[in-house]
Amino acid sequence: MTLPLELPQMRGRLQRHGLTLPLLLCLAVVAIVTICAIFGSNIAPDSPFTQRLEVGDKPPSAEFLAGTDLLGRDVLSRVIHGARTALVGPIVVAAGAFAIATLLGLLSGYLGGLVDVAIMRWVDFMLALPGPLVAIVVVGVIGGGYWTAVLVLIILFTAPDTRIVRSAVLEQRPLPYIDAARALGISKRRILFVHILPNILPLILAYVVLDFAFALVNLAGLSFLGLGVQPGTPDWGRMLFENRNILFSNPPGLLLPAGMIILTAVSMNLIGDWLFERLTK
């Protein structure tokens, strides 16, 4: 009898936090992808590497729920294992870019002067470059695949992120608590990292989540062009590259990884928007 009484309460509590149904679905998608990334080998029905050349590319059957690719590998298992490269790289990109951007943004926004001019000139230059093309060419020429791609994306993402952090710092700067801290003779470093940083951290967190979505899409794109992960690695972008010729024989081989890229990216974007609303207003 307690259930009907508790449900509206629950709903009220969820709504107070802005947790609408679409958002809960997004959180569920991210949770499932995370579980696949961690426990992939226990969940997947088959090894992602086992080849059955005699089977080849077959449409879904009772044995292979999402069919097989050209080498007879189980598509479903490869998608489940692909969650790992889909999460790890983007997390490193988002965290790395914001770690650098936070430092540069704090310095640029708080110190002003020549430091500010130098950093913002660099940001303007980076933003004037056609980013995706730079990523393709640099990763392609240097080689090194996935981790080179992660590094290049960190550098490309740092520029817009620095601008975001800087404007957040500029908003904090005229506030009385900074004046108070300065009047007390607190060192610049302490003001930056102990006083300003905690105040802009929620905003940074929201943008980290949004960056994750962009990084996921970009890394998948590079893998789709054959420049990201090593050949054979179960990865959603790479699967789109390897399975591009089986759209007729086994559509899920392309549609499943493609769908996962969109689902994960949309979920992270909506969660990022929600965090932004919740944490910055």
Binding site: L129, I136, V137, G140
Partner: protein
């Protein structure tokens, strides 16, 4: 006005120089000896190596190499590709048509439907249509063109069979349009979301202004108010974002050309990158980057022309 154009040029030209330096440095960034990178799969006899060193001035200091290379590029000499030993410039010219056609259709779809849908969402604010547009925006921004392309390819190409699944068509405007409809749609969908979002936001802002109330009070028709007054003002932020749209379109075009197996500049670049054909990569990268910089320059100037507040120097641009 002239001063403004000169100011913008003062930014654009150094930018182009830095980009060209980066493009030139690709030869040296490639792992291993630059000569090996330029040699590719050709046999490495001393005569070829010496010829390559001579052609790329590899015995000179870096700055001199760059200077000589830049001089050649400015004269229209982009060198020869490693694979097939073709003139890079003629390979680019041959492939540019498809990319230009694709981008033009893409831009047309983006501008037409992006602005119309954004307007519709703003005018029907809070309704189901508006919410659908906001949702579409999230999907559009999240899903890259090559992924959208795969779904379009499957539904309209494989399931319904309305459109061809690869290639750019042989000849004639009609055939080409038929082949490029799906790619252009995939291209447009990913970028359109930005235009819808910005148009919606700026329309909503403009609709609340006093001049709208006044125009209503004068008894002007809704169509006249929206198209004659509100839209003109609401489009200014859209023009500002046009740079973003162009870069987005070009980047997506690279991916879309690969998805739909189109013989354009994008797939030429990707092909060159996969085969590490450095001269070809340099050529296509230079062409793409120059285009992006020049379009941004043009947009800056157009932006000034259409907004009288900036033209007469009343607002800091």
């Amino acid at each position: 006005m002239v001063r403004l154009i000169l100011e913008r040029l003062a930014v654009a030209i150094p930018l182009l120089l830095i980009i060209s330096l980066g493009v030139f440095a690709l030869v040296h960034i490639a792992p291993g000896d630059p000569v090996r990178a330029l040699l590719g799969t050709r046999p490495s006899d001393p005569a070829t190596l010496a010829a390559l060193r001579d052609k790329y001035h590899l015995n000179d200091p870096f700055v001199v190499q760059y200077g000589k290379w830049l001089w050649q590029v400015l004269q229209g000499d982009l060198g020869r590709s490693i694979n097939g030993n073709r003139l890079v410039w003629s390979a680019i010219k041959e492939r540019a048509g498809v990319t230009i056609f694709l981008s033009l259709i893409g831009t047309a779809i983006v501008l037409l439907f992006g602005v119309l849908l954004g307007m519709a969402a703003a005018l029907r604010r809070g309704t189901r249509l508006d919410r659908a547009m906001v949702m579409f925006g999230v999907f559009g921004i999240s899903s890259p063109a090559f992924v959208t392309g795969i779904f379009l390819l499957y539904f309209f190409g494989v399931v319904l069979g309305w459109f061809p699944t690869f290639g750019a068509g042989r000849s004639g405007f009609g055939d080409r349009l038929w082949h490029l409809t799906l790619p252009a749609l995939a291209l447009a969908l990913s970028v359109m979301a930005i235009v819808v979002k910005i148009t919606r936001a700026s329309m909503i802002e403009e609709l609340d202004r006093d001049y709208v109330t006044f125009a209503r009070a004068r008894g002007l028709s809704a169509t006249r108010i929206i198209f004659g007054y509100v839209l003109r003002n609401a489009l200014i932020p859209v023009v500002t974002a046009a740079g973003l749209v162009v870069v987005g379109l070009l980047a997506s075009a690279i991916y879309v050309e690969v998805t739909f197996a189109l013989p354009g500049l994008g797939s030429l670049t990707v092909d060159a990158v996969q085969k590490r054909d450095i001269p070809l990569i340099q050529g296509t990268t230079l062409v793409f980057s120059c285009f992006v910089v020049l379009v941004n320059l043009a947009i800056d100037i157009v932006y000034t022309l259409i907004d009288p507040r900036i033209r007469f120097g009343k607002v800091e641009s």
